[in-house]
Amino acid sequence: MATAFDTTDVVLSILKIAIILGIWLNVTPIMVWVERRGSALIQDRPGPNRVGPFGLLQSFADALKFILKEDIVPAQAHKWLYNLAPTIGLLPALTTIAVVPWGRGFEIPEMTLFGRKLFEGGRWFEPVVADVSAGILVIFALASLSVYGITMAGWSSSNKYSLFGAIRASAQMISYELALTLAAVSVLLAAGSLRLTDVVNQQANHYFVLFDVIKLPAWNIVSPAMWLSFLVFSVSAFAETNRLPFDFAEAEAELVAGYHTEYSSMKFALFFMAEYMAMATMSALITTLYLGGWDIPWYNEPATFLGFLLSFLAFLAKMSLLLFVFVWVRWTIPRLKYDILMRIGWKVFLPLAFLNIVIVAAFIAARWI
């Protein structure tokens, strides 16, 4: 922090932020389309197919509709908190991605434009916005704040159903955050670091060799020590993002629309965006922790721009696959009962996560990892 002000560094940081924010803001329209077409595919009906080819422009029409709708504030609402809640809900969804690495770092070659040197050669570009040593804890810290957006929205609406949704959301998120964090501990133990770049580097371009013939990429999901942890983490991810089968905060059949019942117009759209961005962040996190991050199996990415580009695409591909799984699960599995959700969280997933920590510790002690 005490270092001199470096203009190129600032420009690079802004560039990274612009890239990742651009992707994250576009996740929502794309995912809404995927969700609607995906659900139609699963339920054997056409789905949106009027606006643009394959209904691709449907999301733009939806966005326009949201902007043009009247913004209604209930007379009984607590105005301040009611207006603040969507922003607070969006904030953690947008910021958590900052510590996740999304590509192979590379050395920027010397570039000249109009006879002027743009970059001093030999500068390293690490495709992560903030490579802090607390790493994954920053994600958990910010993600734990996402419950406030929901709670504020539910409480300030002065609506019983909203309040029920908010209370359910807080109870659910407290319960599943523990399982989520403890499941991640297994991975961090194996990597020996909280920094997510270290977690990826430990998996990327390393191999498990079986019987001297089969070469498997050293992704955490391949290692039997991580299977339990992967299961607990991904199921808890569904609960953390309030997705079906765990969407009790907005269970339509019981609570109208839960915490955002009273919201309309863009404020409602912001909650919508926050949900999809949280999904994207969880997918990115599962990719980083278990699926080797940006690693392409059986291919050694060179530390050049091409290597970066390929690894970035690999990262996006893995993330998209997981995002599709989110949609797939939503339209396949019905909602659980609320008491079952809480019971599974505390009595099944929490002990399983602890068990996996012991297993990983044993693997490390036996020098298998």
Partner: protein, 168 residues
């Protein structure tokens, strides 16, 4: 830069702390406390201890305050005005807080403002804290865990039905 950020977030922390005390609505109070904790976490980042900052947010802002908010909402206090206080309560309250404030200012002046801090680098990453916790402070660490266990058992005892009640 660091200086400006420090004063900005110090101001935020103090203002929200004041809102906690002065605002009549308990939900607004609880949320302001979260904001104040968050501003405190920024202080840890400025001290180059991101690990502590993350823990501050996870434990206080993320976990404890959610429980507070949860309880406030379940009690449904939103439209209830505080009952009027008796003069003796007011007198005792003001005296105690004045005494505490004077003591705090005295110690700040004596130890914090006019004492130069040692210029040694500040290590507060996960590794250092973990090693300290399990070597130098292992006894207090285990004692705290026993204390927490006792609290859990006590809470379960108070909230749960007794075995006889459950059977009937």
């Amino acid at each position: 830069m660091e200086f400006a950020i420090f004063f900005l977030f110090a101001a935020i922390a103090v203002i929200f702390a004041l809102v906690v005390v002065l605002h009549r609505n308990p939900v607004v109070g609880a949320l302001s406390l979260v904001a104040s904790f968050f501003a405190l976490a920024v202080m840890y980042v400025l001290l180059e201890a991101p690990f502590l900052a993350a823990l501050q947010v996870i434990v206080y802002a993320g976990a404890i305050m959610v429980l507070f908010l949860f309880v406030i909402m379940l009690l449904n206090l939103q439209h209830m005005a505080e009952p009027p206080t008796r003069p003796i309560q007011q007198f005792l309250g003001y005296t105690a807080s004045a005494a505490f404030g004077i003591g705090l200012i005295y110690f700040l002046i004596k130890y914090a403002i006019f004492t130069k801090l040692p210029d040694t680098p500040f290590h507060a990453d996960a590794r250092t804290i973990g090693i300290r916790l399990f070597e130098a402070y292992v006894f207090p660490f285990e004692m705290v865990s026993i204390l927490l266990l006792a609290a859990i058992v006590g809470a379960l005892f108070l909230s749960g039905k007794s075995a006889k009640e459950a059977r009937s």
